[in-house]
Symmetry: C2
Subunit: 391 residues, 2 copies
Amino acid sequence: MNYIKKLSERNRLMDSKIVRDSLSTFGVDNLISLAAGHPAAESLDYELFKESVDKVLGKNDLSLMNYSFSNGIPQLREAVARFLKRTQNLEIDSRSVGISSGSQVTIDTVCKAFLDEGDVVLVEECTFLAALQSMQSCKAQIVPIPMDSEGIIISEYERLIEKYDVKLTYLIPTFQNPSGYTLSEQRRTALAKIIKYNDLIVLEDDPYGHINFNDKQINSIYSLAAENVIYLGTFSKSIGPGLRVGFYTGPFELIDQINAMRFSVDVHANVLAQNVVVEILDNERFYTNVKKMSSIYKVRKDIMVEALNKYLPESYSYAEPEGGMFIWLQGENDIDSDLIYKKAINNGVSFVPGTLFTPNKLDGKNKLRLNFSSPDLKSIDEGIKKLSEIL
Amino acid sequence: MNYIKKLSERNRLMDSKIVRDSLSTFGVDNLISLAAGHPAAESLDYELFKESVDKVLGKNDLSLMNYSFSNGIPQLREAVARFLKRTQNLEIDSRSVGISSGSQVTIDTVCKAFLDEGDVVLVEECTFLAALQSMQSCKAQIVPIPMDSEGIIISEYERLIEKYDVKLTYLIPTFQNPSGYTLSEQRRTALAKIIKYNDLIVLEDDPYGHINFNDKQINSIYSLAAENVIYLGTFSKSIGPGLRVGFYTGPFELIDQINAMRFSVDVHANVLAQNVVVEILDNERFYTNVKKMSSIYKVRKDIMVEALNKYLPESYSYAEPEGGMFIWLQGENDIDSDLIYKKAINNGVSFVPGTLFTPNKLDGKNKLRLNFSSPDLKSIDEGIKKLSEIL
């Protein structure tokens, strides 16, 4: 049987296998991966994880094994509210917090909640590829917002909301994936004002906010326009992605809608993991480890920047990130990062070609995403050297 | 802001909040719930769970905390292949096994993979409501296949595949939800022949197959037509739903497609839970507990049947199930199970109205789903008595 012919058009739009294959270079022998977005193994606090699991299991609570609430266990929703108070000084009612099994499935659910075929969703001109796939699976019209190293350009955003009947805006405003860019304070304030005035909904994805290389606190869009923002957080980068636990908050009416929809999506997150995250968030060592994690990544970022200064051809440029996991290389317009990728693999180094991050693939042709969180210091230097040789 | 006005049409079709609210009677004081489909607390083997978690944690394996493979860890895919060999005598290559974070999100992903707006999906005339929601979220045309107590009627299936260009057929052939019906052996053989001849894809959902009240082995559709079936299994009913671990198998080309799509859905299942299921499946106590579980449910089913014989008005009928968790009551055509539901709640008992299980709500008006796996023996008798009083 020709199975592929049977698949839906929405599936073909998602290009899932191409995306997966491009990311499959992690852990391959003799290949330095600057591709994946994994946390550094050294940054994961296994002892705290193990102790927390032991503590939870010791309660002999059968509810760990049974069905639970779609919006998450109340203890974790309350712990997340305390966590957001402590880390971002936000006052949030735990009824407006939902516990996800990772942010991706929530992005997918929010897309379903808002987007019919042809509906317009605005995104940063380069953005998280799995989010693009969720939008593609809804057959939405994905419109990129031009950006520079300070994030989306506000006048361009204004032009687009004027031109289109915008259903949703998806942004990663802080230490963005793939660019590493951060929306400036001034633009955040302007954006908040615009979305409030125009009754627009922003889906704010903030997986990297706590990987901050400076002490400067960055205010979320949510903190500036709580009635207009669904805010996504995750413990994938601060505890570990293997747990598949994240959270979402926003206007209760929308959160309640997402909670209800989850009955036909992921149902609820693993109950043991939810209880473990409660223990971890209530432990000071979690906060110490998040700081340690940021310093580990800062060192790696510095090494990558140093290597780029040493080896990178002059025709390439980038903006040094103030947090997160990625550096976004831009070459001259005539280069083709898909071709470069093939050469790079043959030269023992991988990265992710820019074409995977842009709604219109051509826009990403001259761009490369480099990850500095997973490789060790020696591999970073060597990887950039190997990559620069074929650029 | 009027948030509801902003939501998509696909969301409105899903009626998520109505579904959620109808199921929210579990654990309410002074209310006997014959609504939810929870496993009996006594049937969960906490000791085996705890020991298995301890064993996994003792390996001090950092990969428990990090990103993992979308299709699941190789050890669990192999353990599932052995499990299917032992329990169903199936020979399956572990590369064709994917590990899900529960079957529901796989149903959702498979719907996305096959169904565009208006595409025809065939389902049993009453079926799992979350699956219906996943189909609704794709704006598919859901066509019910008439059934009797031996499952779908084959001549009706033949008529429907003649009439429509069918993209997918979703079936729960064994101890069905909500009806408790099981597709007879003769009809299974006939169905397998038809789908092979017509190049049709069946999504076979088998969460209840191991809750078997007789010793008679039931062959899956998958075992009869492996090239045409995506088979879904779950450990929610045999270990516990809190783990959110299930599996899928079928033709490699389709499984590989689902694996790739998961990058933008649930990414992968909780890694600790996957490792724990490996330990559990390799432990004889798991198989002993599954048998114990079936006997617990058989006793409860017998008590419910006895109570129905005692109390149920003659105008209602049902078929006694040979496994699973549910009994499906049918009343005369002029009754309204949504109204009965309101009266029942006031009389201290809940169930799920039939309208939630039928693509065309009117078809379920005179039907009620009763669950016998969660309530204890006394509650079952009392619940049926209270329900019968207002029927």
